[in-house]
């Protein structure tokens, strides 16, 4: 059964049971990971102690461990993962390419350039780095968008190609900056470029949380027109979708989500790319809904961060190392399993 209809009085909505089931399952995985992440660390807590602390019945030490250290980090992971996952889903359906991600319009390389300038030339602290990363990303995304407009129309294909060109320029500029910098600075830049959640606090969690809430609502409102756009511009236009407006709104939403997420955690690789792919396979639908992709991203990043903290403890790896490895291996496994099942 591909889709079902829910009717409550005069209101009815179409939904895919499998997607709902998959979404619930992924949420469960994310929640379990989050709770488990709250229990581990230098001051171990039991699950019941964590739940007690969360409901306001914990002692001072566990309150500090949970509210002061672990919860903001876990929430940052969940929100950042969600933001990347949703943005990735939007980009993949807009560009109609499974390799689509915010990278394709140059956002990620732009933010990396911004951050490198922040670290290497301005010698800034984390606020300067986050700020210059966001500015870099937005400037490049806007530039790519403007360069891709011909006759007042943005064709997704052209957007992708211009994005690739711009990314190539910036990537080589980034390489140049890295080779000319002093080794210590370059190492610091490399850690930022990998994406890390080490030492993230409430000041990181809250902005991403707000952005995910706002951007999430916006993207979800546009999910139906996004589905319709997948039928092709002519069909979608014929069905009454204001193509250009929807596309622009989706692009802005997805870029904003990516920007805030990048500012908090750096350009954590692969979530935006893998989350929609994984969600698509879990829901067995041709296009992943941004919501399920976002939840998948959240679960993926929370899992990866847990692994990054614990695998080589007491050394905490930057989470970016793990998202790449974990996401990559999981996708490989999925592909291999499907190959065996003869699907595809």
């Amino acid at each position: 059964m591909r889709s079902a209809v829910l009717r409550v009085g005069p209101v009815s909505t179409r939904f895919a049971p499998r997607a709902v089931l998959a979404g619930l399952l992924i949420t469960l995985v994310a929640a379990a990971t989050a709770v488990y992440s709250l229990t581990v660390g230098d001051y171990p807590l039991s699950v019941s102690e964590v739940l007690a602390t969360l409901s306001g019945h914990g002692d001072r030490a566990s309150e500090f461990a949970v509210y002061g250290l672990r919860l903001p980090r876990v929430l940052t992971a969940l929100f950042v993962g969600m933001a990347f996952g949703m943005a990735g889903a939007v980009f993949q359906s807009l560009s109609r390419n499974p390799l689509g991600s915010p990278d394709i319009i140059g956002f990620t390389t732009g933010s990396a350039t911004g951050a490198l300038i922040g670290i290497l030339l301005l010698g800034g602290g984390s606020l300067v780095i986050a700020g210059s990363a966001v500015i870099g990303g937005l400037v490049v995304a806007a530039l790519v968008y403007l360069l891709a407009v011909t006759d007042g129309v943005v064709r997704p294909g052209q957007l992708v190609l211009v994005g690739i060109g711009a990314s190539a320029v910036l990537a080589s500029f980034n390489g140049y900056l890295l080779t000319r910098a002093d080794l210590g600075d370059a190492m610091q830049a490399a850690v930022w470029l990998t994406g890390s959640l080490n030492g993230r606090g409430w000041e990181h969690a809250i902005p991403v949380g707000v952005a995910v809430a706002l951007g999430g609502v916006a993207v979800l409102c546009l999910a139906r027109p996004l589905d319709t756009l997948a039928l092709g511009d002519d069909t979608a236009g014929g069905l009454g979708v204001p193509i250009e407006r929807v596309r622009r709104a989706l692009l802005i939403g997805a870029v904003a989500l990516t920007a805030v997420a990048t500012a908090s955690a750096g350009p954590v690789p692969f979530i935006a790319l893998a989350a929609p792919q994984v969600a698509r396979r879990l829901t067995r639908s041709p296009d992943a809904s941004p919501l399920v992709a976002g939840l998948t991203g959240a679960a993926l990043l929370a899992l990866a961060d847990l692994a990054a903290q614990r695998l080589f403890a007491p050394v905490a790896l930057p989470v970016g190392v793990l998202t790449a490895a974990l996401g990559g291996v999981y996708l490989v496994w999925l592909l291999a399993a499907q190959r065996k099942a003869g699907r595809w």
Partner: protein, 343 residues
């Protein structure tokens, strides 16, 4: 309009237009080769350049030309041609005009192997990296190809690209973990990662030459068959070619070319994607013309970038990989805008 499923609107270019384009590309390459031998960080008068080539006297000018610039130019021509043709093959194979050697895990495999060699075995010279890079690139691509469905790519060409990205990401994770813990390896790796033609010399050239030459020959041999492949497997079979064999050969050629190029010059990404793509607008979608044109245009781009880097960076130089995108990308963006790419 779809980027993925459709090969971009196949426009037939008239054959006189294609001949002119090909001839022009040849002339540009010739100029680039001459410039690459004649220009450099050390100003050598043209007369001395000629003398160094015809009548080697051991002077420092002659050494610069003969022992530094000549091998470097030779390497640039081969690496460039390899990247361009490998890009064509990858795009035909995956039916994705955004495919490039890097998408299929080749660069990530080479990087992972090289970083391991640097960090665990203490290898430091380019000639020492080459075999590691080849092995890493070949291994990664083999894995990607198997996961991507082997010869059965036709059912979903996207699968190959997804497999490549997945394998690439996992390997990149490994690479960054290694370099983040080992600053000596990071220090070497950051220079390898931009991609350069400098300081390779003839030993590196001879190490990769068999792979590059073999790959180019293989690619040339399947040009017509690749064209029938674009019509779909059934059509292709009825026209007398075996799609499985053609895809296997194309994959083999692509991996030999891109692994060889990456091993020799590092990951120079943009060339393999942009040149075949731009070529499609100029000479049409015929794979034979595409590959021939790319084999001339890609080395021109690489050599022009290399010379520009040498001239701009005086008294040192800018790495080839840095300049390639700076030179090529604006041109690419211009073409995309100008030709209203129907992707």
């Amino acid at each position: 309009m779809t980027i993925l499923s459709a090969r971009p609107a196949i426009r037939r270019a008239s054959s006189s237009r294609r001949f002119i384009a090909l001839a022009l590309a040849g002339v540009v390459l010739l100029i680039a080769v001459v410039a690459s031998v004649a220009l450099g960080a050390r100003p050598v008068p043209l007369g001395h350049v000629w003398a160094a080539l015809t009548d080697y006297d051991g002077s420092s000018d002659a050494v610069a030309v003969r022992d530094l610039r000549l091998p470097r130019t030779l390497l640039g021509v081969f690496v460039g041609a390899a990247l361009g043709v490998a890009g064509c093959l990858m795009q035909a194979l995956t039916r994705n005009p955004l495919a490039e050697p890097g998408v299929l895990g080749v660069n990530a495999g080479a990087a992972a192997a090289i970083v391991s060699a640097m960090s665990f075995l203490g290898v430091t010279a380019p000639a020492g990296y080459v075999w590691f890079a080849m092995a890493g690139a070949g291994g990664a691509f083999a894995l990607v190809y198997l996961l991507g469905g082997g010869g059965r790519i036709k059912e979903s060409p996207a699968r190959l690209a997804v497999a490549g990205t997945a394998v690439g990401a996992a390997l990149t994770g490994f690479t960054s973990a290694v370099v983040l813990f080992d600053s000596t390896a990071f220090d070497q790796f950051r220079f390898w990662a931009v991609g350069a033609l400098a300081d390779r010399g003839m030993p590196v050239f001879w190490q990769v030459a068999p792979f590059l030459a073999g790959g180019l020959l293989l690619a040339a041999s399947i040009g017509p068959a690749l064209n029938t492949l674009a019509l779909g497997d059934d059509q292709s079979r009825s026209l007398g070619s075996n799609p499985l064999v053609v895809r296997g050969t194309a994959a083999l050629a692509a991996v030999a070319l891109s692994a060889g190029a990456t091993a020799a010059a590092g990951p120079i990404g943009f060339v393999g994607l942009a040149v075949p793509h731009a070529a499609r607008f100029i000479v049409g979608a015929d794979e034979r013309w595409l590959m021939a044109f790319s084999a001339l245009a890609a080395p021109s781009l690489l050599l022009i970038a290399d010379v520009t880097g040498r001239v701009l960076g005086r008294p040192g130089e800018l790495e080839t990989g840095v300049v390639t995108a700076m030179v090529g990308a604006p041109l690419f963006i211009y073409l995309v805008r100008r030709l209203r790419v129907p992707a």
